[in-house]
Each structure stands twice: as C-alpha cells, then as structure tokens.
C-alpha cells in the first residue's frame, strides 16, 4: 500500500512541497480562463483516470494508446466547458470526469457494436470477454454496484470513487472531499462504503 500511495501522490502532485497549489484552486483559476492552470489540472487528473479506464474496457476494446486517448479526449471536451462547472471541489470534478469517461466508454462499446447482450444464451462466455471489472465480479454485480453508487449522496459517491476507484491517499481524499484531516476522510469513506453495501443488498432483495 505504501507504494501505491507514493505513486498516487506523485500522480496527483498535490502534496508536493514545490507544488502547493490545491486542485480546488486550480479549478478556480481554470474557470477564470487561465490556460496554464488548465494544463496542470489536466496533467494531474488524466493519469489516474487513464489507469482507471483500463478496468472498464474489455480486452478486445482495450489498446493502451486508445484508452489513453479516449480519456484525454473526454477530459479536453469537458474542460472546454469548465467555465460552467460549479466549483464544489476536486472530488466533485473527479467524479464528474469519471462519469463522463464512463459514458464515453459505453458509447464506444456501442459504436463498436460488440456490446454483448445481457440476455445472450452464451452469457458466461460474453461475461468472460468483458472488462476486467466485469470479469472480476460479473456483469450483474457490476450493474448493481453502479446503480447503488448513483443512489448515494454526492459526497459519499465522491469519496468511494476517489478512494476505491482512483486510489487517492487519505490525505488527498481529505482535500478532495473537504475534510479537515486524513482520519476524518477515512471515516467518511468508511461510512460511505457501508452505505453502498446496504444499497447493493437492497437491490438484490
């Protein structure tokens, strides 16, 4: 874990002494039309999402370069409209971008015309040809997970995405979701995860 944290801190560049500017501040500056801030923001947010996207694209649709391009492109499209983005913090932006990339991935899969039909008689085989996440927990469970995530409160959802999906450290998480300490951020994420499990259970009842 220590290794992962170090990596993710480097990726996000948020707690470096020589780069003290918070993501929140960068968003503010970018909204005001500061192109340099946009670039820093881009560099900071793209890598974790690119890594994340590898879990959501099936092998057959996943090419290292393609995945990166898809994420970059989505980010650039979103950033064009950053002036209209409500500044609710880094976590909100990150969650928003994640959804945008997810939508784009779904579009891509539809476009490639090989999105397997859930009722297909070869269900299992098609599941096996799904994304790593689908392969890990199954298509149905993944559907429940996504749906339950959407039913959470925004700050709960943001905490799960940042910590579980994007690998934020608790320090980064605190900054992203506006908690005073890493410990407080961890507690919030913990509550959110229990809530998520309850939502998923409810869907199965």
């Amino acid at each position: 874990m220590a290794e992962n944290r170090a990596d993710s801190a480097k990726r996000l560049g948020s707690s470096d002494a020589d780069d003290p500017e918070s993501t929140f501040q960068l968003i503010e500056r970018a909204r005001a039309g500061d192109a340099a801030a946009l670039d820093v923001l881009f560099a900071r947010l793209a890598a974790p999402l690119q890594r994340w996207a590898r879990g959501r694209l099936p092998q057959w649709a996943r090419d290292l370069a393609d995945t990166d391009d898809l994420v970059q492109d989505t980010l650039l499209q979103t950033f064009k409209r950053i002036g209209g983005f409500e500044p609710r913090g880094a976590g909100a932006l990150q969650a928003y971008l994640r959804q945008a990339v997810l939508n784009r991935i779904r579009d891509e899969l539809r476009r490639k015309g090989r999105q397997p039909d859930a009722t297909d008689v070869n269900g299992i085989e098609l599941e096996a040809a799904g994304s790593p996440l689908e392969e890990a927990i199954g298509r149905e469970a993944l559907g429940h997970y996504e749906a339950a995530l959407q039913r959470l409160k925004p700050d709960e959802r943001q905490a799960i995405i940042a910590r579980v999906e994007l690998g934020y450290t608790y320090e980064e998480l605190a900054e992203a979701v506006g908690k005073p300490t890493a410990d407080a951020a961890r507690k919030a994420a913990q509550r959110a995860l229990v809530r998520l499990a309850e939502e998923m259970k409810r869907a199965r009842e």
Binding site: N4, Q50, Q72, E125, A128, A136, Q190, V194, E198
Partner: protein
C-alpha cells in the same frame, strides 16, 4: 445490532485500507442478518482490489524512470499484453541471448504467497514438457518480490480470435486442430501433468500454421467457491469439476471436446449465465447435441466429440491418444487447407476473409499445398500491372536460418547469423540474387518445409542447413534444393572448431556459389571470403544489433544502437557495424521522426564516415553515407552514394528503397517506382518496402494496383501502421475524408487524424487533437511537420508556414516531400509556399 455494525464497519475500513481479510472467519462471526451485507462487502473488496492492481497508464503519462527495464536475467523490451493476472512483456534473455515472453504478476498480488508459490511450482514442472505444440516454458521465479514466468515468444492469433473474426471452423479444420491438440496433451499427460484450462483463448495459431497450447491453469479453479465471482471460462469445465475440483486426464479430454464443439458451432454444449445456472444445467443434463447445433456436420465427427464431452467421465475417452486415433481416422486425404483451396475456386469471397484474418499462416499453407496455387495466389488482383515484373534470367536463392539440432541448442540469433553470413557473402555475386536476411528470419521454426518457403519467397534454390554444437566443435550439414523439382542439388557436411566460425562460413559460401554460378570472377571470389571483423565477439554483438535494426521501431532501434556500439568496442575497425549505427540514427531522425535531425547529425556523420573510410567496398557503408548526405540536404552526394551502393551490391534492398524515396521527393515518380519494384522483388515480405511500392504505384496513376499492394501488405501484418497511414493519404487525395479518418486512426498518427478531421470540417475535434499534440511535445520531441500538417488542415496557413519554416531551419528531412505529400496540398496556392519550395530547392543545389 451494535456488534454487527462494528464488524461491518471494520470490514469496510479494511477494504478501504487494502488490508487482507479472512472472509471465512468474518462470515463465521457474522450474524444471520449481517451475512447479506458481507456478501456485498466481499464484492466491494474485489472491486477495490481490482482497481489497486490495474496496470499503470501507457507511455503518455508514465514516468520514464518507472518503466520496468530489467527483471532478473531478462531485459524487458516492450509490453505486449496485460490482464488481471499481470503483464506480459517481450523480453530479451541476456544469459541465453534469445527473445522470450515474460509474464509478470503484479508487484503485490492479493494472495501473493499461495498463488505465487503454486505458479512457480507449476511453471517448473511445465518447463519439463518439450513439444512443438506446447509453449515452451523456460523458467519461473520470484525475483525482487515479483513472480514471473518466461517462455517462448509465440506470435500468432488465438483460436478464439480467429473464430470471432472469421466464423466457425470447417470440420476438416477442426479435425486437424484437434489432432495437434491431442499431440500437445499427450506430451503434457506423459509428463504427469494436467492442463486444466484448455479453451479457445489458450490455443494459438502461428504464422507457420503451428497449433500451440498456451496458458496452463494455475490454480484459478480454486477461486470459484463463491457463486458470484467467476474466473476463467467455466463452460469448458467438466461437470465433475464443478462439484469438486478434482482434475483428471478425462476432464482435460472434456475440455478438448468443448473446444472442438465451440470451433465448429461458435457455441457451447452446456450454456448458462453464471456458475449456479451452469451447475444446475449440468445436474439436469441440459446440453445441446452437436448435431442439433450444427446439423450438417459429419456424423462420425459428432460422435467423437459427443464421446469426449460425455458428462460421465467413465464413458469418455480414457486417453488423448485414443481420441486422436479416432480423429485421425476421419482425416481426409487432403489437408484442410487444401479443402479450403477448393472452396476458393467456387467462392472466392468466402475464403477471402478467412485468409486475410489468418494472414501469413494461411498463405504459407496454401503455398505448401502446391506451386500452381502459389502462382495463382501471388498474381491475384494484380492484373496487368502486377507489382512484380517478370524475373530475369538470374536465379534467386533463399538461405534459411540454420536449424539447431542435437542436445546443445544453438541460439536463435546464431542460427539466423550463420545464414546472414552466407547471405552477405553471396550477395556480392552478380550471377545470383539472394533473398535478404529480413525475408528469411522468420523461418527458424522446427518442422519447416524448405520447398514451401522457397515458393513463398519466390526463390529458385533454397539452402537448408542444420547446425549442431558439441563443446568447441560445430557441425553444419547443408543441402541446396531446387524449388521447382524438389531435387537436392548438393549436400555436404562441414566440421569445424567453433572458434573458426568464419572459415566455416567462407567454405559454405564458396561451395554454394560454385553450385549456382558457373564462372566466378576474381573479384567475386574475394568477396566470398571477405571478413568484416576478426573478433567473434564483435561479430555476435553485430548480429544482435542487426536483429533489432530490422524491426525498425523506435525502441528496437535504440537497442540496436547499443549492440552496434558494443561491437565497436570489441573491434573499432568493424565497418559494417559503423554502417549499422549510422542507419539507426538516420531512421530515428527521418522516417520515424522521433529524434531532432540536427541533434543526431554528429553521431550519424562520424559513423557513416568511419564506415566508408574503413571499407570503401561495402554497400552498407555507402547507404550510410547517403543517409548522411540526405540529412545534410546534399542531394547530389546522396544520389551518388545510392548509385555506388547499388553498384557494389545489386541485391541490397535498402539502397533501392531509400533511393526510391529520394526520387519521389524530386518528383521523379516513374524512376521511384522502378526502384521500389526492384526492392520489392528482392524482399517481397518487407512491410516498409511493400508500402513504398504502393505509394509509388499511386503516384504514377495506378490506383487499383496501389490499393492491391496495400491490401497485400495488410495481409502480411494487419496492424502495420504505415500501410494504414498511406491508405489514409490516398483517401485524403481523393477527398474521401471519412475513409481517410478511419485509416489514419488505425495508423495512430495523431497529426494526420487531426488534419483529416479539419479538412472534413470537424474543427473542434482537430483542435482538441492539436492540443494533445502540444501537450505531448512537452514530454518528447514532436517534429514541427506534425504541427504544420494540422494547421494546413485547419486552413491556418500562416501558422502552418511558421512550423514549416522551423522545420526548414532544423533541416527536417521529410520537409522536402512538400510536393509529394498530399497533406500540404491546401497550402499550394500560397505565395509563401512557392518561396519555401524555391529555398528548399536552392538549399539542395548549394
């Protein structure tokens, strides 16, 4: 309730922290009410775990220092695949000097110890299985906390890929594959092992039509204790394994049966959506009979497969040998590809997809089936403008890599190297044309058919040799075969001390030359025994450098440079190694445009000058000089150097290829076409040459032949970027923007994609790509021409010219293709264009 909240919250915390959780223990301490929540938490743990182990981003965001470069004895070259199990790399085994595939588990796999130990254990057992139909495992170890398995690098497609792309297999095809799989499994079972994970995704078809059994089950079947979490493809699992994991020879046979069923139908005998349903279906004996799934199959074949997949293990075949025996009895006299060939006559369209998908493999086997077919195929679609002109009276000879025999294997680079040495020596002869090393390199495999390869390479004679090493001695057995008749024209055995390898190569070359050419001139005799270095060590390093040079990608060229430099450290008078070094620098700065030309110039200059200073009679030294002149924009010198190189060795394809590009630049498209035709004739399987020929055909107005040539290139390698890119340029020229965009996207060349979008009117998208290009240029060198191309597409001529001027200042070579490159067409009415064009011309004539 309080206690339960405590447990659930603790588990949630552990999941977030990424700590190990003992789920069995957690479940036993949970109350009835908590259990459903625990099921969900366990899923969430899997979600978190997966995200923690995702591979890092690609080159665009990776820190250079973080790239894995070395793992134990293996130098990691490039990542070629990845999955939830970890990463697969192409690597170089520095101890044994061979290319390998390396599978590395994630740095911190969740159940590192148990699974890791079992993988190492299995890998070591599997390393004992040596069979052409089973991937050869070289080793399995834990090094620096990472568990890796390294093996033979198998190039090809999985049966599942072929199935997805080309549809169900014919009975004859399935029978052949079944027989080869049985061979493979006999070897596995004979070693006392089981495979446990036979499925279409785990069987590869290689370029030489070899069926290779890949990934073995490594204990993954133990993971399916939960109905929710599925790993692998349980549809191949014998029913008894779903009840309890107790694999046997008969459960492997069941999987072979399912695989054959799947190849024939695209479906499975027992289908279900999850493991629970699958178990229920098995219990109800709910399966689809093969004949019901595909009614027109031969009844005997159906009975064999039904027996292999009998739910009752005792009623299945008791060994793969008996299954193989039954399959072999069904085998028609013709091979399945011969059957395919017959179908070809009736339904050319139907076989076309299959052929293009399987590419080289299919083509090769077609050729093996008979020379008449070969001739028909090679002329298909070329029409009156056949890409290859009729051959003259000079015979072509193909020297195949020397095959390693005997207990002490000879490394692949040396097998190729021995052939390369003979090729080099023979290429100085006027009376015979030799296929270059790059064309024969791929035929190192065992069980090759020299005649079929000869036909494929359109050679009149094939030199087929074996090499056996025993201590310091080396024995080479050669035979020269006439392709048209299959007659052995000459055979001889050479014994020599290994330290006197050069004398051996001289002797073989001289004998072969004597067989093929009636009268050798004194100069030719000298050429046959000319040695480039006296140092065996330097020579070996040079051969390795050549190996990587021929791959022509950035990473490989940089490795090649390293080897050439090492070779020169051993022998600083090794002319051809200097030439190799110069070639690499030249290509990095021009065709690949990944190095700034002015930065590269000093290294290129010193290497090229040294090469020609040391050996003025060396064709390669003169192409190196041509590269230098080209980089200095000295067209006069460049042309003279190509001519000299061709004069010294009329069979050296690179000289024709590069000379053709120079002529194209100058607008002399007809001459360029002639050069590229010659290069293609010498090396018909070289992708770059093939695309260059297509380009020349297009520019001389023969669009159909150009498109055919592109198709042919993509049949050799469906992913070759430059074939897609050149096709995109054709479409762009015809204003077919949608087609151009599609082709450019396949090439991955961002500037061209953006250009095409801009021309098609999608300015937004072009701008966003331009921005990406700008971001990229902060991380690595991006040629100014890329920006010029995008701005030209956007109609921002002033910006385009700013970048073109910068390219002019930096002496970027491909700028001189201004007139020949359709992407600059929008600029052509501009006064600035005319001015720039004039200055480029003047710079050349200075």
């Amino acid at each position: 309730m309080r206690a339960s909240e405590g447990l659930v919250a603790d588990l949630a915390g552990a999941i977030l922290d990424g700590r190990e959780i003992d789920w069995a223990c957690a479940e036993s301490s949970a109350g009835v009410e908590e259990r459903p929540i625990l099921v969900q938490l366990r899923l969430l743990a899997a979600v978190a775990d997966l995200h923690r182990h995702l591979p890092d981003s690609g080159a665009a965001v990776a820190q250079p220092g973080e790239e894995l470069q070395q793992w134990g004895p293996l130098r990691v070259l490039e990542r070629i695949g990845h999955g939830t199990f970890g990463q697969v790399y192409r690597a170089w085994d520095t101890r044994l000097d061979r290319e390998v595939a390396l599978k590395l588990l994630p740095a911190n796999p969740p159940d590192n110890d148990a699974r890791g130990t079992s993988i190492i254990h299995e890998g070591r057992l599997l390393a004992r299985v040596r069979h052409p139909n089973v991937v050869t495992i070289y080793g399995a170890e834990r090094i620096e906390k990472r568990i890796g398995l390294w093996m033979e690098l198998v190039k090809g497609r999985t049966l599942e890929q072929v199935l997805q792309e080309s549809g169900a297999f014919s009975p004859a095809e399935a029978i052949d594959i079944g027989i080869e799989l049985c061979h493979a499994m006999s070897a596995v079972h004979a070693a006392g092992l089981l495979h446990r994970d036979i499925k279409a995704q785990n069987v590869m078809l290689t370029g030489e039509r070899r069926v290779v059994l890949m990934d073995f089950g490594t204990g993954r079947e133990q993971d399916d204790s939960s109905a929710e979490i599925l790993a692998g493809t349980p549809l191949y699992l014998a029913p008894e394994l779903i009840r309890q994991p107790d694999a046997s020879v008969r459960s492997d046979i069941y999987s072979i049966g399912v695989l054959l069923y799947h190849l024939l139908t695209g479906s499975y005998p027992v289908r279900a959506r999850n493991l629970r349903d699958l178990r229920a279906a098995h219990e109800r004996r709910q399966s689809t009979e093969l004949r019901a799934a595909q009614p027109d199959l031969p009844p005997k074949l159906c009975r064999i497969i039904e027996r292999a997949i009998d739910p009752e293990p005792a009623r299945r075949y008791d060994s793969v040998a008996s299954l193989e025996g039954d399959l072999a009895a069904l085998k028609p006299r013709q091979t399945f590809m011969a059957a395919d060939r017959e179908a070809d006559a009736d339904a050319p369209h139907a076989t076309r997809g299959w052929r293009s998908k399987v590419g080289r493999w299919c083509l090769l086997v077609l050729l093996a089936a008979g020379s008449t077919t070969a001739a028909i195929y090679l002329r298909t679609g070329s029409g009156p403008n056949a890409a290859t002109p009729p051959r003259g009276a000079i015979p072509f000879v193909a020297v195949l890599p020397f095959r390693s025999v005997g207990p002490a294997p000879v490394e692949e680079y040396l097998q190729v190297g021995m052939a390369d040495a003979v090729i080099t020596r023979l290429s100085g002869l006027k009376g015979v044309a030799v296929r270059p090393t790059s064309a024969v390199r791929e035929y190192v495999a065992e069980g090759r058919d020299p005649l079929a390869i000869g036909q494929r390479l359109r050679a009149d004679h094939v030199l087929d040799a074996t090499v056996q090493r025993s201590g310091d001695r080396v024995r080479v057995t050669t035979q020269l075969v006439e392709v048209a008749t299959g007659r052995t024209e000459w055979a001889e055995t050479f014994d020599q001390s290994f330290t006197d390898l050069f004398a051996l190569q001289d002797a073989i070359s001289t004998r072969v030359a004597g067989q093929l050419v009636s009268a050798l001139s004194a100069e030719e005799r000298r050429a046959l025994v000319r040695r480039h270095t006296a140092s065996l060590e330097a020579y070996e390093l040079y051969l390795r450098g050549q190996f990587f040079w021929e791959k022509r990608t950035e990473a490989n060229l940089r490795i090649a440079i390293g080897y050439f430099e090492q070779a020169l450290q051993r022998d600083n008078r090794f002319a051809v190694a200097y030439a190799g070094l110069a070639h690499c620098h030249y290509v990095l700065a021009t065709s690949l445009a990944v190095d700034p030309p002015l930065k590269v110039l000093p290294a290129l200059r010193s290497a090229a000058l040294k090469a020609v200073e040391l050996d003025d009679q060396l064709a390669e030294a003169h192409t190196a000089m041509a590269g230098l002149y080209s980089s200095e924009w000295n067209e006069h010198g460049e042309e003279a150097a190509y001519k000299r190189s061709i004069e010294l060795n009329p069979n050296y394809p690179t000289a024709y290829l590069w000379y053709g590009r120079m002529l194209d630049r100058r607008g002399d498209h007809q001459e360029s076409l002639a050069m590229r035709r010659r290069a293609y004739e010498l090396d018909p399987l070289n992708l770059q040459i093939s695309v260059a020929l297509a380009d020349a055909l297009y520019k001389t107005g023969d669009r159909d032949a150009a498109l055919n040539q592109i198709t042919r290139t993509l049949e050799l390698d469906p992913e070759f970027w430059d074939a897609h890119h050149t096709l995109g340029l054709f479409h762009l020229d015809l204003s077919g923007y949608a087609d151009a965009i599609a082709a450019f996207e396949k090439s991955g060349k961002l500037a061209s994609i953006a250009h095409a979008y801009a021309r098609a009117g999608d300015r937004d998208r072009a701008m966003s790509m331009l921005r990406r290009l700008e971001l990229e240029s902060t991380r690595r060198y991006v040629t100014p021409l890329d920006f010029a191309v995008v701005y030209a597409g956007l109609g921002e001529n002033d910006r385009a010219f700013e970048w073109l001027e910068r390219a002019f200042r930096e002496r970027v070579g491909p700028l001189r293709l201004l007139d020949a490159d359709v992407r600059y067409a929008p600029l052509r009415g501009d006064a600035h264009y005319v001015d720039l064009q004039r200055r480029i011309r003047d710079a050349h004539l200075r």
